[in-house]
Amino acid sequence: MTHEQGRLGGEYHGTQGPLFWLAVRTAMLTALTLGVYRFWAKTRIRRYVWSSVGADGDAFEYTGTGLEKFLGFLAAIVILAVYLGAVQMILFYFGLTLFGAAETQAELFLQFGAFGITSLAILPLVFFAQYRARRYRLARTRWRGLRFGAEAAAWGYVWRAMIYWAIALLSLGLLWPLMTFRLAQYKADRSWYGNARFRQNGRWTGLYAAMKQLFVALGLMVLAAIFAAIQLYVLAGLWATLGAIWFSVGLLSYRVNAFVYLTENLVLEVPGADDVTFGTSPQTWNVLWQMVGGSMAVFAATGLVFGLLGAGPLLLIGLEAVPLHVLIVPSVLLYMLALAISGALWLIWVAQPILRHVVTRCTAQGTGALNGVAQRAGDSGADAEGFADALDIGGAF
């Protein structure tokens, strides 16, 4: 129970214009530098987004730098170059030796097995990179002058993630909540705000309620199978289509509702004071609309941008006004610009609205206790997300 006074609601102050131009500028710089600038680009966009999020008038702050990300990436490259190059070639080799001519079930099984084994070699690195990237982001986040942080526990996360993923897959998704909960708990229990530690309460079975829509989708599929069995193929097809759509909505609903459950059972343990508790109420429909409607708008606008930017060079080619080779450089630049605009539109029409929705629907209770939180020591940031950058994993921001 919380006895402390105080309740804070999440604020989001970001707007479309500045983020759009920032994204276009940094994407162009990234393209022109053959990708080197991407670390600075990501950092600048994070600075903007972090400073958009706040509570009680205090904005978050992202203190990472592009340079440290680049250095971390270079370090990760050395390790991954050796590992990935070899693994990929071996994977391809197995693909070749087991190529095509699988005539029996057993051979087919072996073929998939070989691919599976080689991708398993990459999987630990992916989980490792995910945990380290999260730790880096927390270490570079501040609010009210205090650092966030996470413990150096990436390998513990790796083997847990492997086991829980295996369990979730082998149970055909029935134990998915077990994986979601335990991995979230592992991460939350090792996260800090200043000298206050987060704790994930609740039970993994509590996530089954979030799976409701997935079970509905399953029911629709079963219905489709029954219709198929009694040879009513049109009806079966209809129900199966509905089931498939319902399933993808259900996946989103699970993510949103699992987030709600986890957040409502999250506490911040302030030393010598009462816990700060959290609440959130994002709506699946709202997120779905931002995703579908936003993506459609981005898609349409991207087509328009490519058409407009492509019209110039095409016209010049058509008129044979200038030799082809003169047009190569401007055309490539225009193509990059169109891609950059498309990416920036996605940021402002899909990613940012969803973030705004979620942030503004988060609350914290008993926040009077926050006055007692003290600073924590700085974290070097390990590889500064280098592995995640090299393996190209990570979210929108």
Binding site: L19, T30, A31, A59, A81, V82, L96, L146, L370, A374
Partner: protein
């Protein structure tokens, strides 16, 4: 200037201190009054920095530059001051270099060292280890698997050339096929080949020929049309047979699988990144196929010598290529050339070889050559 309200966090606890801020009399510092401090804090304007992305209009978050701070990525002292008074913000922006980037000493050295190490690791992988591994693995692949792989490669190329169904583009006029068979036999007679050769002609105007893994050789109709005579086609065929024997296609596929992954990792999934990876791959392939091409030419000349076929036809073919290269006409030969050595030089080598050859005879009879030319009809 009068003091205005501001928020101060000392970076030690999360307690908010409602303070007042103002510029000092001499204009050299920002004074922070009130809060928990016994005496006013004096922040020199020269050390003042803005933090964060400043998404919120009308808010300015300030911190002090602190070169001694090595715990954070940016050398800033932990305390933060949020100013919202427009006049003070304007004054600070006018007087301070708020966006200044403070570099730590020694960063350039670290960057250079790490960069060199990463470049060396990638370079050694791309140019030394992956090629060696590819060579080894290529010899380990069972021949029958290679053949299956080769079939799928050819199928992909057929589709790319516009075949809706596989075999649509196959040229199968019986007399022409027989002539091709005679040519292939004569060239490979005596050579102890590992692969059973499957030579096909595809109905496409491109002047090209290639060897897929596992003994599949494809000649485009355009090459037959363009050739000066049967000996020229024999030269090209011998060259492709050499590729088959050296397992070049398989080795290159293996190498590409490894290096494409590496390159995409280095360049990243950025705007146009895929194009950059593709280009990088092309450049690398061009660099390491030159060697393979020269080797195949040498092998091809030996084959022609053994079969008693003049390499003058081959020389004529390369001369034609060299001319086309100089014209640079659209649609002619770019794919065949990109990764090959200088055509004029190859023509000279073939010509020199021809001068030393003993008695030669056309690789197939004139009637057979006419049949081969009509293989697609």
């Amino acid at each position: 200037m009068l003091p205005v309200p501001a928020r101060y966090y000392d970076g030690i606890t999360a307690t908010r201190q409602n303070v007042r801020a103002m510029l000092s009399e001499d204009g050299g510092a920002l004074l922070i009054l009130g809060g928990a401090q016994p005496a006013p804090l004096e922040w020199p304007l020269a050390r003042l920095r803005a933090v964060g992305g400043a998404a919120r209009k009308g808010h300015l978050v300030l911190a002090l530059h602190d070169p001694a701070n090595r715990a954070d990525a940016r050398p800033l002292a932990p305390a933060r001051l949020t100013v919202t008074d427009p006049a003070l913000i304007a004054a600070l922006r006018a007087r301070c270099h708020l966006a200044r980037r403070d570099r730590r000493p020694g960063m350039r050295g670290r960057l250079v060292r790490r960069g060199a190490l990463a470049a060396a690791a990638v370079g050694i992988m791309l140019f030394v280890i992956l090629p060696r591994m590819a060579d080894t693995l290529a010899t380990l692949i069972p021949v029958e698997r290679e053949i299956t792989f080769g079939r799928s490669v050819v199928a992909q190329i057929e589709r790319a050339l516009g075949a809706t169904d596989l075999g649509d583009l196959d040229c199968t006029a019986p007399a022409g096929t027989a002539a091709l068979e005679v040519m292939t036999r004569r060239l490979s007679a005596g050579a102890d080949l590992r692969y059973r050769l499957e030579v096909r002609v595809l109905d496409h105007a491109m002047v090209n020929a290639f060897a897929a893994p596992g003994g599949q050789i494809v000649i485009m109709r355009g090459l037959l049309d363009d050739a000066t005579g049967p000996d020229a086609v024999a030269g090209v065929l011998a060259h492709e047979i050499a590729h088959v024997e050296a397992r070049d296609a398989t080795r290159h596929a293996l190498r590409a699988a490894g290096s494409a992954g590496l390159l995409s990792m280095v360049i990243g999934d950025v705007t146009g990144g895929a194009a950059a990876v593709f280009l990088g791959e092309r450049v690398m392939r061009a660099s390491y196929t030159r060697e393979a091409e020269t080797g195949a030419d040498r092998f091809a000349l030996r084959m022609l010598n053994n079969a008693g076929v003049s390499s003058r036809g081959m020389a004529a073919f390369f001369d034609g290529l060299a001319e086309a290269e100089q014209e640079g006409g659209p649609g002619r030969l770019p794919t065949y050339l990109s990764s090959h050595p200088d055509s004029a030089a190859r023509a000279d080598v073939a010509e020199a070889n021809a001068a030393d050859q003993r008695a030669t005879s056309p690789v197939i009879s004139d009637a057979e050559w006419q049949a081969l030319l009509a293989i697609c009809d």
